[in-house]
């Protein structure tokens, strides 16, 4: 394992643990988000908020490896946990705001013909240059002030900006995940896999196109070779020596 891979692991492990915990919570209490009437009683707004936060932790945390590494790498060692917490706080704020619109919209769409329009507009947004621009900007890793209040403010600001671009990039997929009251968890899992696959792509020139995550498909296709034997070295290289 390279030193860089070891550094990646230091961020990956806690993120995976927290995300898995959030999935467990959602699996054990799926009613937190799905039906807005549960057992004849309206699910309180606060409970929905907790459910939405759990959904973010489950689905979005694993997408934050790169920015969390940036925060970790560029902060003093003793400030790393604090910096990561502030980044996450900043990141969650635009998403919580977006949730106040997305959650009711998604749940409403789940029970009406509006669902069709949700799907159409989600696909249209996913294909738009504006979404690609948001996705691209989500790769920005700005300079961070190292100490004092400036350092706190810098990571908080980074979190808010990253969260805002992430909302722009992912809101349509998250809305889709909310539209299936009967199969909420399965819809979330599908959306999560899509977002992970999408994240494997790099920035692209913004233009109209549906961003099918080809790299993930290629990775799956290449898995047998990756797991199995090494490719025969030089077999291809010899072709040009003839």
């Amino acid at each position: 394992m390279t030193t860089a891979a070891r550094e990646r692991l230091r961020v990956r492990l806690p993120v995976i643990v927290v995300s898995a915990g959030a999935w467990a919570v959602l699996a054990s209490a799926p009613e937190m988000l799905s039906p807005h009437v549960h057992g004849g009683v309206l699910v309180p707004v606060a409970a929905r908020g907790v459910g939405w936060a759990a959904m973010l932790a489950a689905m979005m945390l694993p997408l934050l490896m790169a920015p969390l590494r940036h925060v970790r790498d560029r902060s003093f060692a003793r400030r790393r946990p604090r910096a990561a917490a502030l980044f996450l706080l900043g990141y969650a704020s635009p998403w919580m705001l977006a949730g106040s619109i997305l959650v009711p919209s998604g749940l409403a769409a789940g029970e009406s013909v509006v669902a069709l329009w949700v799907v159409v507009s989600a696909v249209a947004w996913q294909s738009s240059p504006a979404r690609q621009h948001c996705f691209n900007r989500g790769h920005a890793h700005p300079p961070l002030a190292p100490a004092g209040a400036g350092a706190d403010l810098a990571v908080l600001r980074f979190g808010v900006a990253h969260g805002a671009w992430c909302v722009g990039s992912c809101w349509a997929v998250m809305l889709m995940a909310l539209c299936w009251p009967g199969a909420h968890l399965a819809a979330m899992a599908g959306a999560f896999i899509w977002l992970l696959a999408e994240r494997m792509e790099g920035p692209e020139r913004p233009r109209w196109r549906f961003p099918f995550p080809l790299r993930a498909v290629r990775a799956i296709a290449a898995a047998p070779e990756w797991l199995g034997r090494r490719p025969a070295p030089l077999a291809a290289a010899e072709t040009f020596q003839v």
Partner: protein, 510 residues
């Protein structure tokens, strides 16, 4: 099949020796092919990078050109690996395929089938000038249209004269013990940082930064009337249009082999992620069109061993003393020279990378100098000092690196020297050390909001271990701050918009 020999371009016998003359004829033949032809000159250049606006401005692309099919563009173009541990293997395959294409043209013209690409070793005494065949617009018989000449080659002083200033290039990368490095502030490694397919990575490896980037920018320079118009060699999207590109990269390829051989402890990565290349994990595959119409897909493992590739270099001598660690330990503990084993082997770099200090604000580079101070954290600084004090026993002292983070700008031809010093340096008085040189090859792309770095620029890493050792020997590394002075090789105009987001110091050790 007989081994091909890549020879020093300055030692071929004369300015237009056969290897150069046939190179020129091969280049001319490739240039005659249309853009859409896979083995044409421009198709090969676009595999390194394509930027339609610059190509059009310089006359390499026009509305009348038929672009290749989209599938060819997606597979072959914009493929070069920078800021990645694939930098060396990708360029080796690129060179091999290009050389095979030139050779095919040479053979078609009844030239020697053993023709091989020469290399330009600007480090050798009296060989720092551009080889004359590339500097003249004429063929040796005095007629024009020499295909090795390009007008957009402005040189270090932007006056069209290309002589690499030998005091500005360095082979310090050859003493780097590890091939793979980190992007977290420590050593980026000899060959680069562990990444996936990376067409414009944030942190360049040591040999990529210096001499690779630096020589690119010194050759290319920029249009004297507009610093945002780079010489061909100064921008990754135009660099391979200049025929000297290939001789420069043959030299970088040669340095990879020099590093591997001196000392034998230098080894390439063994991780499958490197040996199998990015294609094995879903990334783009390294892919080259070959002159016989086939396509060559390759991995780093395919090109790692020079001896199996059918070519060699006429000079693989080590130009620097290999064992830097012994020297360093001896300097840190001169009274214990005898106790330090003579055969201390270079160790892999420490696994922990940690911020020691950073400035608070961005630095703009305008004119002929910029300055800032980097405050150092007392606690982490003490950790470095403790590591240096214990070095004779542990043989594992910290290494220290200066990072220029988030370097942004519009002029790739910008290059500057970075000096680091301390004001309150005790009895020795103020001192300053050249930390290294930085050339902004690739910065325009990295500054674009929709580019690979989302507009946040590139990060450069320079080792300042020697300076810190000196400070430690003098007063136990008791400096509150390091002064950093940036000195561009040419004054930087406002419109270049060059800035450094943060300047920081990192330790790497246990």
């Amino acid at each position: 099949m007989a081994t091909k020999h890549r020879r020093n371009v300055w030692e071929l016998g004369n300015d237009w020796a056969d290897d150069i003359l046939w190179y020129a004829r091969g280049v001319k033949a490739m240039k005659a092919h249309p853009l859409k032809q896979r083995t044409s000159w421009r198709f090969y250049a676009a595999m390194h990078g394509f930027f339609d606006q610059l190509w059009e401005l310089y006359g390499y692309f026009s509305a009348s050109d038929t672009r290749p099919p989209n599938a060819d563009i997606a597979r072959f173009w914009d493929q070069c690996q920078h800021g990645s541990w694939y930098f060396l293997p990708w360029h080796r395959g690129y060179l091999l395929a290009f050389e095979a294409s030139v050779r095919a043209e040479v053979v078609a013209l009844n030239g020697p089938p053993e023709w091989a690409l020469p290399y330009w070793n600007y480090f050798k005494p009296n060989q720092a000038a551009l080889p004359p065949a590339f500097a003249s617009p004429d063929w040796p018989d005095g007629t024009g249209d020499n295909p090795l000449f390009v007008p957009q080659r402005y040189g270090p002083d932007n006056d069209g004269t290309v002589v690499i200033p030998v005091d500005q290039i360095s082979l310090r990368a050859l003493s780097e013990p590890d091939f793979a490095g980190v992007s977290s502030g420590g050593s980026p490694g000899f060959g680069g940082v562990d990444t996936g397919f990376e067409h414009g990575g944030r942190v360049h490896g040591r040999v990529e930064s210096q001499p690779h980037d630096w020589v690119h920018v010194l050759i290319g320079g920029s249009d004297p009337t507009d610093s945002r118009l780079p010489g061909l060699m100064s921008d990754p999207d135009t660099a391979a249009l200049d025929p000297i590109f290939w001789l420069h990269h043959a030299n970088i390829d040669r340095l990879w082999e020099v590093w591997r051989q001196h000392p034998p402890t230098h080894v390439d990565p063994t991780q499958a992620k490197w040996t199998k290349g990015p294609g094995a994990s879903g990334g783009r595959v390294f892919s080259m069109p070959m002159p016989d119409g086939t396509r060559w897909d390759y991995t780093p493992a395919d090109v790692a061993k020079l001896a199996t590739l059918g070519y060699d270099y006429d000079d693989l001598a080590a130009p620097v003393a290999p064992n830097q660690l012994t020297e360093r330990l001896t300097r840190l503990a001169p009274d214990r020279v005898a106790a330090i084993a003579a055969g201390v082997q270079p160790m892999a770099s420490g696994k922990n990378v940690e911020l020691v200090g950073a400035n608070q604000q961005a630095v703009r580079i305008v004119g002929s100098e910029a300055r800032t101070a980097v405050p150092l954290d007392k606690e982490v600084r003490s950790k470095v000092a403790a590591s240096l004090t214990a070095a004779p026993d542990t043989a594992d002292p910290d290494r220290v690196f200066l990072n220029l983070e988030n370097v942004r700008g519009l002029a790739d031809a910008t290059a500057f020297q970075v000096y680091v010093g301390v004001r309150n340096a005790g009895a020795g008085g103020p001192r300053e050390l050249l930390a290294g040189s930085v050339a902004l090859f690739g910065v325009r792309k990295a500054t674009s909001p929709d580019g690979p770095q989302a507009g946040e620029g590139l990060t450069y890493v320079l080792e300042i271990t020697d300076l810190v050792d000196d400070l430690h020997l003098q007063d136990g590394f008791d400096a509150d701050a390091l002064d950093v002075r940036i000195v561009p090789i040419r004054p930087v105009p406002e419109e270049a918009e060059i800035s450094i987001g943060r300047i920081s110091v990192f330790r790497q050790g246990q």
